[in-house]
Protein backbone atom coordinates (compact mmCIF):
# COMPACT_ATOMS: atom_id res chain seq x y z
CA UNK A 1 0.00 0.00 0.00
CA UNK A 2 1.64 3.33 -1.06
CA UNK A 3 1.30 6.65 0.68
CA UNK A 4 -1.40 7.93 -1.68
CA UNK A 5 -3.54 4.91 -1.12
CA UNK A 6 -3.08 5.21 2.60
CA UNK A 7 -3.95 8.92 2.44
CA UNK A 8 -6.94 8.10 0.27
CA UNK A 9 -8.01 5.57 2.87
CA UNK A 10 -7.92 8.23 5.57
CA UNK A 11 -10.03 10.57 3.45
CA UNK A 12 -12.45 7.75 2.81
CA UNK A 13 -12.65 6.98 6.51
CA UNK A 14 -13.22 10.65 7.34
CA UNK A 15 -15.93 10.89 4.72
CA UNK A 16 -17.54 7.71 6.00
CA UNK A 17 -17.49 9.02 9.56
CA UNK A 18 -19.03 12.31 8.43
CA UNK A 19 -21.71 10.43 6.53
CA UNK A 20 -22.51 8.35 9.61
CA UNK A 21 -22.78 11.48 11.75
CA UNK A 22 -25.00 13.15 9.16
CA UNK A 23 -27.17 10.05 8.93
CA UNK A 24 -27.39 9.87 12.70
CA UNK A 25 -28.49 13.51 12.88
CA UNK A 26 -30.99 12.98 10.09
CA UNK A 27 -32.52 9.93 11.75
CA UNK A 28 -32.36 11.39 15.26
CA UNK A 29 -34.15 14.61 14.35
CA UNK A 30 -37.59 13.19 13.61
CA UNK A 31 -37.76 11.42 16.98
CA UNK A 32 -36.16 14.20 19.02
CA UNK A 33 -38.23 16.91 17.37
CA UNK A 34 -41.10 15.51 15.33
CA UNK A 35 -42.28 17.64 12.41
CA UNK A 36 -45.20 19.85 13.35
CA UNK A 37 -47.55 17.91 11.09
CA UNK A 38 -46.79 14.48 12.57
CA UNK A 39 -48.74 12.65 15.27
CA UNK A 40 -46.64 12.49 18.46
CA UNK A 41 -44.91 9.21 19.19
CA UNK A 42 -43.79 7.41 22.32
CA UNK A 43 -40.12 6.47 22.84
CA UNK A 44 -41.06 2.96 21.67
CA UNK A 45 -42.23 4.39 18.33
CA UNK A 46 -45.95 3.82 18.89
CA UNK A 47 -48.29 6.76 18.28
CA UNK A 48 -48.79 8.58 21.58
CA UNK A 49 -52.57 8.86 22.02
CA UNK A 50 -52.16 10.51 25.44
CA UNK A 51 -54.04 13.75 25.66
CA UNK A 52 -57.42 15.41 25.96
CA UNK A 53 -59.78 14.50 23.12
CA UNK A 54 -63.34 15.17 22.06
CA UNK A 55 -65.72 14.26 19.28
CA UNK A 56 -67.47 17.10 17.50
CA UNK A 57 -70.69 15.64 16.14
CA UNK A 58 -74.28 14.93 17.13
CA UNK A 59 -74.02 11.13 17.47
CA UNK A 60 -75.00 11.29 21.13
CA UNK A 61 -78.39 12.59 19.94
CA UNK A 62 -78.70 9.89 17.31
CA UNK A 63 -75.97 7.76 15.74
CA UNK A 64 -78.04 7.76 12.53
CA UNK A 65 -78.56 10.80 10.28
CA UNK A 66 -81.28 13.05 11.69
CA UNK A 67 -82.85 16.49 11.11
CA UNK A 68 -82.91 19.21 13.78
CA UNK A 69 -85.98 19.16 16.00
CA UNK A 70 -87.44 20.89 19.04
CA UNK A 71 -86.10 19.77 22.40
CA UNK A 72 -88.14 17.99 25.07
CA UNK A 73 -88.58 20.95 27.45
CA UNK A 74 -90.64 23.88 26.20
CA UNK A 75 -89.02 26.28 28.66
CA UNK A 76 -85.53 25.58 27.29
CA UNK A 77 -86.51 26.77 23.82
CA UNK A 78 -83.73 27.08 21.27
CA UNK A 79 -80.94 26.65 23.82
CA UNK A 80 -81.50 22.91 24.31
CA UNK A 81 -83.18 21.82 21.11
CA UNK A 82 -81.71 19.04 19.00
CA UNK A 83 -79.18 19.86 16.25
CA UNK A 84 -79.35 17.85 13.04
CA UNK A 85 -76.48 15.60 12.06
CA UNK A 86 -75.02 13.38 9.38
CA UNK A 87 -74.83 10.25 11.54
CA UNK A 88 -71.80 8.06 12.19
CA UNK A 89 -73.07 4.62 11.16
CA UNK A 90 -71.62 3.12 8.00
CA UNK A 91 -74.50 2.79 5.50
CA UNK A 92 -76.71 4.76 7.92
CA UNK A 93 -78.46 1.60 9.05
CA UNK A 94 -78.45 -0.47 12.24
CA UNK A 95 -79.42 -4.03 11.28
CA UNK A 96 -81.89 -4.64 14.11
CA UNK A 97 -83.78 -7.90 14.09
CA UNK A 98 -87.53 -7.08 13.74
CA UNK A 99 -88.40 -7.76 17.41
CA UNK A 100 -85.38 -5.71 18.54
CA UNK A 101 -86.41 -2.75 16.40
CA UNK A 102 -89.73 -2.51 18.23
CA UNK A 103 -87.85 -2.12 21.51
CA UNK A 104 -85.67 0.61 20.01
CA UNK A 105 -88.79 2.54 19.03
CA UNK A 106 -90.25 2.08 22.50
CA UNK A 107 -86.99 3.37 24.01
CA UNK A 108 -87.16 6.44 21.79
CA UNK A 109 -90.69 7.25 22.90
CA UNK A 110 -89.71 6.92 26.58
CA UNK A 111 -86.32 8.55 26.17
CA UNK A 112 -86.35 10.79 29.26
CA UNK A 113 -87.50 7.98 31.53
CA UNK A 114 -85.28 5.26 30.11
CA UNK A 115 -81.97 6.71 28.85
CA UNK A 116 -79.19 5.90 31.36
CA UNK A 117 -77.49 9.21 30.53
CA UNK A 118 -80.42 11.11 32.07
CA UNK A 119 -79.69 9.44 35.42
CA UNK A 120 -75.91 9.92 35.26
CA UNK A 121 -75.20 6.24 34.78
CA UNK A 122 -71.90 5.27 33.17
CA UNK A 123 -72.40 5.61 29.41
CA UNK A 124 -70.71 2.44 28.19
CA UNK A 125 -68.62 1.98 25.04
CA UNK A 126 -68.68 3.39 22.39
CA UNK A 127 -71.10 6.09 23.62
CA UNK A 128 -68.61 7.57 26.09
CA UNK A 129 -66.39 8.46 23.14
CA UNK A 130 -68.85 10.81 21.41
CA UNK A 131 -70.70 12.41 24.30
CA UNK A 132 -70.42 16.21 24.33
CA UNK A 133 -67.60 16.06 26.90
CA UNK A 134 -63.83 15.60 26.56
CA UNK A 135 -61.98 12.50 27.64
CA UNK A 136 -58.36 11.79 28.45
CA UNK A 137 -56.16 8.93 27.32
CA UNK A 138 -53.21 8.04 29.55
CA UNK A 139 -50.92 5.84 27.48
CA UNK A 140 -47.73 4.26 28.75
CA UNK A 141 -45.49 1.81 26.91
CA UNK A 142 -44.92 -1.92 26.64
CA UNK A 143 -47.40 -4.07 28.53
CA UNK A 144 -48.41 -1.30 30.94
CA UNK A 145 -52.16 -0.71 31.15
CA UNK A 146 -53.70 2.43 29.65
CA UNK A 147 -56.46 4.49 31.23
CA UNK A 148 -59.24 6.17 29.30
CA UNK A 149 -61.11 8.50 31.62
CA UNK A 150 -64.18 10.45 30.50
CA UNK A 151 -65.35 13.75 31.90
CA UNK A 152 -68.98 12.57 32.02
CA UNK A 153 -69.60 10.99 35.43
CA UNK A 154 -65.84 10.29 35.73
CA UNK A 155 -66.59 7.07 33.84
CA UNK A 156 -63.29 5.29 33.22
CA UNK A 157 -61.89 2.15 31.70
CA UNK A 158 -58.62 0.36 32.07
CA UNK A 159 -57.21 -0.91 28.77
CA UNK A 160 -55.17 -4.01 29.50
CA UNK A 161 -52.41 -4.31 26.91
CA UNK A 162 -51.74 -7.74 25.38
CA UNK A 163 -53.80 -9.34 28.13
CA UNK A 164 -55.65 -12.61 27.84
CA UNK A 165 -57.45 -12.24 31.17
CA UNK A 166 -61.25 -12.28 31.12
CA UNK A 167 -63.52 -10.09 33.21
CA UNK A 168 -64.92 -11.88 36.25
CA UNK A 169 -68.14 -9.88 36.00
CA UNK A 170 -70.27 -7.86 33.56
CA UNK A 171 -69.91 -4.08 33.75
CA UNK A 172 -71.25 -0.79 32.37
CA UNK A 173 -68.00 0.19 30.67
CA UNK A 174 -66.96 -3.31 29.58
CA UNK A 175 -63.65 -5.11 29.82
CA UNK A 176 -61.05 -3.62 27.49
CA UNK A 177 -58.04 -5.40 26.06
CA UNK A 178 -55.66 -3.46 23.82
CA UNK A 179 -53.08 -4.31 21.18
CA UNK A 180 -51.32 -2.52 18.33
CA UNK A 181 -51.98 -3.17 14.67
CA UNK A 182 -49.24 -1.02 13.12
CA UNK A 183 -50.09 2.55 14.10
CA UNK A 184 -53.63 1.60 15.13
CA UNK A 185 -54.60 0.93 18.73
CA UNK A 186 -57.14 -1.89 18.69
CA UNK A 187 -59.30 -2.34 21.79
CA UNK A 188 -61.49 -5.39 22.14
CA UNK A 189 -64.32 -4.73 24.61
CA UNK A 190 -66.52 -7.45 26.11
CA UNK A 191 -68.37 -8.25 29.37
CA UNK A 192 -70.96 -5.49 29.10
CA UNK A 193 -74.02 -5.62 31.32
CA UNK A 194 -76.16 -4.58 28.34
CA UNK A 195 -77.83 -1.66 30.13
CA UNK A 196 -76.07 1.19 28.32
CA UNK A 197 -77.46 2.86 25.20
CA UNK A 198 -75.76 4.26 22.09
CA UNK A 199 -77.58 7.59 22.01
CA UNK A 200 -80.60 9.62 23.06
CA UNK A 201 -82.61 8.07 20.22
CA UNK A 202 -83.05 4.76 22.02
CA UNK A 203 -80.47 2.70 20.12
CA UNK A 204 -79.52 -0.01 22.58
CA UNK A 205 -77.57 -3.20 23.24
CA UNK A 206 -77.72 -6.45 25.17
CA UNK A 207 -75.20 -8.18 27.40
CA UNK A 208 -73.90 -10.02 24.34
CA UNK A 209 -72.46 -6.78 22.97
CA UNK A 210 -68.95 -7.05 21.56
CA UNK A 211 -67.17 -3.86 20.47
CA UNK A 212 -63.86 -3.71 18.62
CA UNK A 213 -62.47 -0.19 18.55
CA UNK A 214 -59.71 1.16 16.33
CA UNK A 215 -57.85 4.40 17.13
CA UNK A 216 -55.81 5.50 14.08
CA UNK A 217 -53.89 8.81 13.87
CA UNK A 218 -54.92 10.92 10.85
CA UNK A 219 -53.06 14.18 11.59
CA UNK A 220 -51.06 15.77 14.40
CA UNK A 221 -54.18 16.50 16.44
CA UNK A 222 -56.78 13.99 15.32
CA UNK A 223 -57.38 10.28 15.12
CA UNK A 224 -60.03 8.24 13.39
CA UNK A 225 -62.24 6.31 15.79
CA UNK A 226 -63.93 3.23 14.42
CA UNK A 227 -66.00 0.71 16.33
CA UNK A 228 -67.38 -2.54 14.99
CA UNK A 229 -70.44 -3.49 16.98
CA UNK A 230 -71.76 -7.02 17.25
CA UNK A 231 -74.63 -8.32 19.34
CA UNK A 232 -76.23 -11.49 18.00
CA UNK A 233 -79.25 -11.03 20.28
CA UNK A 234 -80.28 -7.77 18.64
CA UNK A 235 -78.62 -7.35 15.24
CA UNK A 236 -78.65 -9.57 12.16
CA UNK A 237 -75.01 -8.66 11.40
CA UNK A 238 -72.22 -6.53 12.89
CA UNK A 239 -72.34 -2.80 12.10
CA UNK A 240 -69.76 -0.07 12.23
CA UNK A 241 -69.43 3.54 13.31
CA UNK A 242 -66.62 5.88 12.33
CA UNK A 243 -65.74 9.48 13.22
CA UNK A 244 -62.75 11.77 13.70
CA UNK A 245 -61.80 12.67 17.27
CA UNK A 246 -60.03 15.98 17.84
CA UNK A 247 -57.37 17.03 20.30
CA UNK A 248 -58.42 19.85 22.63
CA UNK A 249 -55.79 22.44 21.75
CA UNK A 250 -56.51 25.03 24.44
CA UNK A 251 -53.51 25.91 26.56
CA UNK A 252 -53.52 23.65 29.63
CA UNK A 253 -56.59 21.79 28.35
CA UNK A 254 -57.90 19.57 31.13
CA UNK A 255 -60.98 17.68 32.19
CA UNK A 256 -63.19 19.56 34.63
CA UNK A 257 -65.19 17.38 37.00
CA UNK A 258 -68.70 16.57 35.81
CA UNK A 259 -69.88 14.53 38.77
CA UNK A 260 -73.48 14.47 37.70
CA UNK A 261 -74.90 12.29 40.50
CA UNK A 262 -75.91 15.36 42.46
CA UNK A 263 -77.64 16.76 39.36
CA UNK A 264 -80.02 13.80 39.19
CA UNK A 265 -80.86 13.11 42.83
CA UNK A 266 -84.00 15.27 42.78
CA UNK A 267 -85.11 13.49 39.62
CA UNK A 268 -84.46 10.05 41.11
CA UNK A 269 -85.33 10.54 44.78
CA UNK A 270 -87.40 13.75 44.92
CA UNK A 271 -90.67 11.88 45.42
CA UNK A 272 -89.28 10.35 48.65
CA UNK A 273 -88.14 13.64 50.17
CA UNK A 274 -90.06 14.84 53.25
CA UNK A 275 -92.76 17.44 52.48
CA UNK A 276 -92.99 20.30 53.11
CA UNK A 277 -89.37 20.85 52.19
CA UNK A 278 -87.01 22.50 54.62
CA UNK A 279 -83.98 24.53 53.78
CA UNK A 280 -80.83 22.40 53.67
CA UNK A 281 -77.29 23.21 52.75
Amino acid sequence: MNFWNRHNGTVLMTLTAAAIVALAIATALPTAQAPANAFPRMPDGKPNLSGIWQANNTANWDVLAHPARQGPMTALGAAFSVPGGLGVVEGNEIPYKPEALAKKQENASHWLAADPEIRCFQPGVPRATYMPHPFQIVQSSGTNDMLITYEFASASRIVRMNSKADSPIDTWMGWSRGSWDGDTLVVDVTSFNGQAWFDRAGNYQSDRLHVVERYTPIGPDAFRYEATIDDPTLYSRPWKISMPIYRRLEKDAQLVEYKCVEFVEELMYGEFVKKPRQQTH
Binding site: M42, P43, D44, N48, S50, C120, F121, Q122, Q136, I137, V138, Q139, S140, S141, G142, N144, D145, M146, L147, T149, A153, S154, A155, S156, I158, A165, P168, I169, T171, W172, M173, D252, Q254, L255, V256, E257, K259, V261, E262, E265, M268, Y269, F272, V273, K274, R277, Q278, T280, H281
Partner: protein
Protein backbone atom coordinates in the same frame (compact mmCIF):
# COMPACT_ATOMS: atom_id res chain seq x y z
CA UNK B 1 -49.34 -14.83 56.83
CA UNK B 2 -47.88 -12.65 59.54
CA UNK B 3 -45.90 -15.60 60.91
CA UNK B 4 -44.45 -16.20 57.49
CA UNK B 5 -43.53 -12.52 57.34
CA UNK B 6 -41.80 -12.66 60.73
CA UNK B 7 -39.97 -15.82 59.67
CA UNK B 8 -38.77 -14.04 56.57
CA UNK B 9 -37.54 -11.09 58.61
CA UNK B 10 -35.84 -13.46 61.03
CA UNK B 11 -34.11 -15.24 58.16
CA UNK B 12 -32.96 -11.93 56.74
CA UNK B 13 -31.61 -10.87 60.13
CA UNK B 14 -29.72 -14.14 60.53
CA UNK B 15 -28.29 -13.76 57.05
CA UNK B 16 -27.02 -10.32 58.01
CA UNK B 17 -25.47 -11.53 61.24
CA UNK B 18 -23.83 -14.47 59.47
CA UNK B 19 -22.60 -12.08 56.84
CA UNK B 20 -21.00 -10.15 59.68
CA UNK B 21 -21.88 -6.76 58.34
CA UNK B 22 -24.98 -5.28 59.91
CA UNK B 23 -24.53 -2.01 58.06
CA UNK B 24 -25.01 -3.61 54.66
CA UNK B 25 -28.78 -3.61 54.95
CA UNK B 26 -28.91 0.16 54.93
CA UNK B 27 -26.47 0.24 52.04
CA UNK B 28 -28.60 -2.26 50.13
CA UNK B 29 -31.73 -0.24 50.79
CA UNK B 30 -30.03 2.88 49.55
CA UNK B 31 -28.91 1.08 46.42
CA UNK B 32 -32.46 0.04 45.49
CA UNK B 33 -34.03 2.41 43.02
CA UNK B 34 -37.36 2.23 41.24
CA UNK B 35 -37.49 1.43 37.56
CA UNK B 36 -38.00 4.20 35.05
CA UNK B 37 -40.69 4.71 32.49
CA UNK B 38 -39.63 4.72 28.84
CA UNK B 39 -39.48 8.54 29.06
CA UNK B 40 -37.43 8.62 32.26
CA UNK B 41 -39.86 9.26 35.14
CA UNK B 42 -39.70 7.05 38.25
CA UNK B 43 -42.11 4.20 37.50
CA UNK B 44 -44.97 4.06 40.02
CA UNK B 45 -47.34 2.14 37.75
CA UNK B 46 -49.33 -0.80 38.98
CA UNK B 47 -52.12 -1.77 41.32
CA UNK B 48 -51.85 -0.69 44.93
CA UNK B 49 -53.82 -1.17 48.13
CA UNK B 50 -53.64 0.88 51.32
CA UNK B 51 -56.09 -0.99 53.53
CA UNK B 52 -55.19 -0.95 57.21
CA UNK B 53 -56.98 -1.31 60.51
CA UNK B 54 -54.64 1.15 62.19
CA UNK B 55 -56.74 4.15 63.29
CA UNK B 56 -56.17 7.64 61.90
CA UNK B 57 -55.59 8.99 65.40
CA UNK B 58 -53.88 7.33 68.35
CA UNK B 59 -56.67 6.28 70.71
CA UNK B 60 -56.79 8.12 74.04
CA UNK B 61 -57.87 4.95 75.82
CA UNK B 62 -57.26 1.23 75.40
CA UNK B 63 -54.21 -0.73 74.38
CA UNK B 64 -52.89 1.70 71.78
CA UNK B 65 -53.07 4.76 74.03
CA UNK B 66 -49.94 6.55 75.15
CA UNK B 67 -47.41 4.84 72.88
CA UNK B 68 -46.10 5.44 69.41
CA UNK B 69 -45.45 1.85 68.36
CA UNK B 70 -46.54 -1.66 69.27
CA UNK B 71 -45.12 -5.09 68.49
CA UNK B 72 -46.17 -7.24 65.53
CA UNK B 73 -48.08 -9.50 67.92
CA UNK B 74 -49.88 -6.57 69.52
CA UNK B 75 -50.76 -5.26 66.04
CA UNK B 76 -52.26 -8.61 65.10
CA UNK B 77 -54.20 -8.75 68.35
CA UNK B 78 -55.57 -5.25 67.72
CA UNK B 79 -56.55 -6.18 64.17
CA UNK B 80 -58.43 -9.25 65.39
CA UNK B 81 -60.25 -7.40 68.15
CA UNK B 82 -61.36 -4.73 65.66
CA UNK B 83 -62.61 -7.42 63.32
CA UNK B 84 -64.63 -9.01 66.12
CA UNK B 85 -66.50 -5.75 66.77
CA UNK B 86 -67.89 -5.80 63.22
CA UNK B 87 -69.66 -9.07 63.96
CA UNK B 88 -71.37 -7.75 67.08
CA UNK B 89 -75.16 -8.06 66.90
CA UNK B 90 -76.97 -4.77 66.17
CA UNK B 91 -79.21 -3.10 68.74
CA UNK B 92 -82.84 -4.05 68.81
CA UNK B 93 -84.68 -2.32 65.98
CA UNK B 94 -81.48 -1.52 64.07
CA UNK B 95 -81.21 -3.44 60.79
CA UNK B 96 -77.46 -3.51 61.31
CA UNK B 97 -74.74 -2.92 58.76
CA UNK B 98 -71.94 -4.69 56.97
CA UNK B 99 -70.32 -7.28 59.18
CA UNK B 100 -66.72 -8.49 59.06
CA UNK B 101 -67.43 -10.62 56.00
CA UNK B 102 -68.12 -7.49 53.93
CA UNK B 103 -65.26 -5.45 55.29
CA UNK B 104 -61.70 -5.45 54.14
CA UNK B 105 -59.90 -5.26 57.43
CA UNK B 106 -56.34 -4.69 56.30
CA UNK B 107 -53.25 -5.33 58.37
CA UNK B 108 -52.58 -3.20 61.39
CA UNK B 109 -49.27 -1.34 61.31
CA UNK B 110 -46.91 -1.39 64.25
CA UNK B 111 -47.67 2.31 64.59
CA UNK B 112 -50.62 3.24 66.80
CA UNK B 113 -51.90 5.97 64.48
CA UNK B 114 -51.76 6.92 60.82
CA UNK B 115 -51.05 10.50 61.91
CA UNK B 116 -47.27 10.78 62.23
CA UNK B 117 -47.13 14.52 62.83
CA UNK B 118 -47.86 15.99 65.35
CA UNK B 119 -45.96 13.31 67.32
CA UNK B 120 -48.93 12.68 69.64
CA UNK B 121 -50.63 10.98 66.68
CA UNK B 122 -53.66 13.25 66.88
CA UNK B 123 -55.19 15.67 64.38
CA UNK B 124 -54.39 19.16 65.76
CA UNK B 125 -57.02 21.30 67.43
CA UNK B 126 -59.52 23.07 65.21
CA UNK B 127 -59.58 26.88 65.42
CA UNK B 128 -62.34 28.39 67.61
CA UNK B 129 -64.00 30.02 64.57
CA UNK B 130 -64.21 26.75 62.69
CA UNK B 131 -65.34 24.89 65.82
CA UNK B 132 -68.18 27.35 66.23
CA UNK B 133 -69.23 26.87 62.62
CA UNK B 134 -69.08 23.09 62.90
CA UNK B 135 -71.22 23.26 66.04
CA UNK B 136 -73.78 25.33 64.11
CA UNK B 137 -73.78 22.78 61.32
CA UNK B 138 -74.29 19.93 63.80
CA UNK B 139 -77.14 21.80 65.47
CA UNK B 140 -78.85 22.49 62.14
CA UNK B 141 -78.47 18.83 61.23
CA UNK B 142 -79.87 17.64 64.58
CA UNK B 143 -83.03 19.62 63.95
CA UNK B 144 -83.76 17.46 60.93
CA UNK B 145 -84.77 13.83 60.72
CA UNK B 146 -82.22 11.18 59.76
CA UNK B 147 -83.51 10.93 56.20
CA UNK B 148 -85.64 13.96 55.34
CA UNK B 149 -83.79 14.38 52.05
CA UNK B 150 -80.90 12.90 50.09
CA UNK B 151 -78.89 15.95 51.15
CA UNK B 152 -79.01 14.62 54.73
CA UNK B 153 -76.54 11.92 53.70
CA UNK B 154 -72.83 12.29 53.12
CA UNK B 155 -71.25 12.47 49.65
CA UNK B 156 -69.89 9.02 50.53
CA UNK B 157 -73.38 7.48 50.83
CA UNK B 158 -74.70 9.52 47.90
CA UNK B 159 -72.02 7.94 45.66
CA UNK B 160 -70.72 11.37 44.68
CA UNK B 161 -67.15 11.19 45.97
CA UNK B 162 -65.03 9.38 48.53
CA UNK B 163 -62.29 12.00 48.57
CA UNK B 164 -58.62 11.57 47.81
CA UNK B 165 -56.99 8.17 48.19
CA UNK B 166 -55.14 9.01 51.42
CA UNK B 167 -58.44 9.02 53.32
CA UNK B 168 -58.97 5.33 52.64
CA UNK B 169 -62.09 3.30 53.24
CA UNK B 170 -63.19 0.24 55.16
CA UNK B 171 -63.20 -1.77 51.97
CA UNK B 172 -61.67 -1.69 48.49
CA UNK B 173 -58.87 0.79 49.14
CA UNK B 174 -57.64 -0.19 45.69
CA UNK B 175 -55.78 2.14 43.37
CA UNK B 176 -54.06 1.86 40.04
CA UNK B 177 -51.38 4.33 39.04
CA UNK B 178 -51.07 5.21 35.35
CA UNK B 179 -48.33 7.28 33.78
CA UNK B 180 -47.81 8.93 30.42
CA UNK B 181 -45.30 11.62 29.47
CA UNK B 182 -46.23 14.66 31.55
CA UNK B 183 -48.94 12.95 33.61
CA UNK B 184 -49.56 10.68 36.56
CA UNK B 185 -53.10 9.47 37.26
CA UNK B 186 -53.99 7.83 40.55
CA UNK B 187 -57.17 5.98 39.68
CA UNK B 188 -59.36 5.11 42.67
CA UNK B 189 -61.57 2.05 42.44
CA UNK B 190 -64.25 3.59 44.66
CA UNK B 191 -66.58 5.84 42.60
CA UNK B 192 -64.10 5.31 39.68
CA UNK B 193 -62.51 8.62 40.58
CA UNK B 194 -59.36 9.55 38.65
CA UNK B 195 -56.91 11.92 40.29
CA UNK B 196 -55.33 13.47 37.22
CA UNK B 197 -51.95 15.05 37.96
CA UNK B 198 -50.22 17.13 35.26
CA UNK B 199 -46.45 17.37 35.76
CA UNK B 200 -45.79 20.31 33.43
CA UNK B 201 -45.78 23.07 36.04
CA UNK B 202 -49.06 24.67 34.94
CA UNK B 203 -50.93 26.70 37.54
CA UNK B 204 -53.99 25.54 39.44
CA UNK B 205 -57.49 26.30 38.17
CA UNK B 206 -58.96 29.67 39.15
CA UNK B 207 -60.44 29.78 42.67
CA UNK B 208 -63.93 29.91 41.15
CA UNK B 209 -63.60 26.28 40.01
CA UNK B 210 -64.12 24.04 43.04
CA UNK B 211 -64.01 20.28 42.55
CA UNK B 212 -64.82 17.29 44.77
CA UNK B 213 -61.27 15.97 44.32
CA UNK B 214 -59.72 19.41 44.13
CA UNK B 215 -57.24 20.24 41.40
CA UNK B 216 -53.85 18.53 41.47
CA UNK B 217 -50.43 19.50 40.16
CA UNK B 218 -47.34 17.36 40.58
CA UNK B 219 -43.61 17.06 40.13
CA UNK B 220 -40.89 14.57 40.96
CA UNK B 221 -38.32 15.32 43.66
CA UNK B 222 -35.81 12.53 43.11
CA UNK B 223 -37.93 9.40 43.13
CA UNK B 224 -40.75 11.03 45.09
CA UNK B 225 -43.90 12.18 43.35
CA UNK B 226 -45.05 15.36 45.10
CA UNK B 227 -48.66 16.36 44.46
CA UNK B 228 -50.17 19.67 45.52
CA UNK B 229 -53.96 19.89 45.48
CA UNK B 230 -56.17 22.95 45.94
CA UNK B 231 -59.63 24.07 44.69
CA UNK B 232 -61.70 21.80 46.91
CA UNK B 233 -65.47 22.01 46.74
CA UNK B 234 -66.70 23.27 50.16
CA UNK B 235 -68.73 20.07 50.52
CA UNK B 236 -65.62 17.92 50.07
CA UNK B 237 -64.57 18.85 53.61
CA UNK B 238 -62.51 16.25 55.48
CA UNK B 239 -62.58 16.58 59.27
CA UNK B 240 -63.67 20.19 58.91
CA UNK B 241 -61.17 21.18 56.21
CA UNK B 242 -62.00 24.27 54.16
CA UNK B 243 -61.90 24.96 50.40
CA UNK B 244 -58.63 26.81 51.14
CA UNK B 245 -56.88 23.61 52.17
CA UNK B 246 -53.53 22.89 50.53
CA UNK B 247 -53.10 19.14 50.39
CA UNK B 248 -49.54 17.96 49.77
CA UNK B 249 -48.97 14.29 49.04
CA UNK B 250 -45.71 12.42 48.67
CA UNK B 251 -45.46 9.04 46.93
CA UNK B 252 -42.04 7.51 47.52
CA UNK B 253 -41.22 4.02 46.24
CA UNK B 254 -39.14 2.32 48.95
CA UNK B 255 -39.01 -1.18 47.49
CA UNK B 256 -40.60 -3.06 44.59
CA UNK B 257 -43.85 -3.62 46.45
CA UNK B 258 -44.19 -0.59 48.73
CA UNK B 259 -44.98 3.09 48.29
CA UNK B 260 -44.39 5.26 51.31
CA UNK B 261 -47.46 7.46 50.90
CA UNK B 262 -47.90 10.56 53.02
CA UNK B 263 -50.22 13.52 52.93
CA UNK B 264 -50.00 16.81 54.76
CA UNK B 265 -53.03 19.02 55.41
CA UNK B 266 -52.25 22.71 55.58
CA UNK B 267 -55.39 24.71 56.29
CA UNK B 268 -54.61 27.48 58.80
CA UNK B 269 -58.16 28.80 59.06
CA UNK B 270 -59.25 25.36 60.32
CA UNK B 271 -56.31 23.53 61.91
CA UNK B 272 -54.01 25.25 64.36
CA UNK B 273 -51.03 23.56 62.71
CA UNK B 274 -50.37 21.32 59.68
CA UNK B 275 -50.67 17.58 60.15
CA UNK B 276 -49.29 14.58 58.29
CA UNK B 277 -50.62 11.09 57.72
CA UNK B 278 -48.59 8.11 56.54
CA UNK B 279 -50.55 5.25 54.98
CA UNK B 280 -48.34 2.75 53.15
CA UNK B 281 -49.49 1.49 49.75
CA UNK B 282 -48.71 -2.13 48.95
CA UNK B 283 -48.46 -3.48 45.43
CA UNK B 284 -51.19 -5.95 44.53
CA UNK B 285 -49.33 -8.85 43.02
CA UNK B 286 -51.95 -11.60 43.22
CA UNK B 287 -53.76 -10.65 40.02
CA UNK B 288 -56.60 -8.89 41.79
CA UNK B 289 -57.62 -6.04 39.60
CA UNK B 290 -59.25 -2.70 40.09
CA UNK B 291 -62.87 -3.43 39.23
CA UNK B 292 -65.68 -1.20 38.05
CA UNK B 293 -67.38 0.29 41.09
CA UNK B 294 -70.85 1.29 39.88
CA UNK B 295 -72.04 2.86 43.15
CA UNK B 296 -74.67 5.33 41.97
CA UNK B 297 -76.11 2.93 39.40
CA UNK B 298 -76.96 0.50 42.20
CA UNK B 299 -77.69 2.92 45.03
CA UNK B 300 -81.04 1.37 45.95
CA UNK B 301 -80.24 2.09 49.59
CA UNK B 302 -80.76 5.82 49.03
CA UNK B 303 -84.30 5.35 47.76
CA UNK B 304 -85.01 2.76 50.45
CA UNK B 305 -83.73 4.90 53.33
CA UNK B 306 -85.83 7.87 52.21
CA UNK B 307 -88.90 5.76 51.43
CA UNK B 308 -88.52 3.94 54.75
CA UNK B 309 -88.48 7.20 56.68
CA UNK B 310 -91.62 8.40 54.81
CA UNK B 311 -93.34 5.09 55.59
CA UNK B 312 -92.44 5.50 59.29
CA UNK B 313 -93.93 9.01 59.31
CA UNK B 314 -97.09 7.83 57.60
CA UNK B 315 -97.49 5.15 60.26
CA UNK B 316 -96.99 7.71 63.03
CA UNK B 317 -93.48 6.51 63.96
CA UNK B 318 -90.43 8.75 64.24
CA UNK B 319 -87.81 7.63 61.71
CA UNK B 320 -84.66 6.39 63.46
CA UNK B 321 -81.11 6.80 62.34
CA UNK B 322 -79.63 3.69 60.82
CA UNK B 323 -76.36 3.25 62.66
CA UNK B 324 -74.70 1.67 59.66
CA UNK B 325 -75.84 3.88 56.82
CA UNK B 326 -73.16 6.46 57.19
CA UNK B 327 -70.09 4.39 58.00
CA UNK B 328 -66.68 5.11 56.66
Amino acid sequence: MRNAFITAIGAAAIALIVGGCAGSQTAAEKKWAPGRTAWGDPDLQGQWNSQTSTPLERPLQGKLAGKETISEDEAEEFENSERATFDAAPRQGDPGTYNAFWRDQGKALTRTSLVIDPPDGRVPAVTPERQARMAEERKARSERGPADSYTDFSPWTRCISRGWNGIGSWYSSNYQIFQSPGYVVVFQELIHEPRIIPLDGRSHLPDSVGQWLGNSRGHFEGNTLVVETTNFDPRASYRGSSPKMMLTERYTPIDTNTLDYQFTVNDPTVFTKPWTVSRPMRRQTDGISVFEYACHEGNYAMKNMLAGARADEKAGRTPTRNAGGEGR
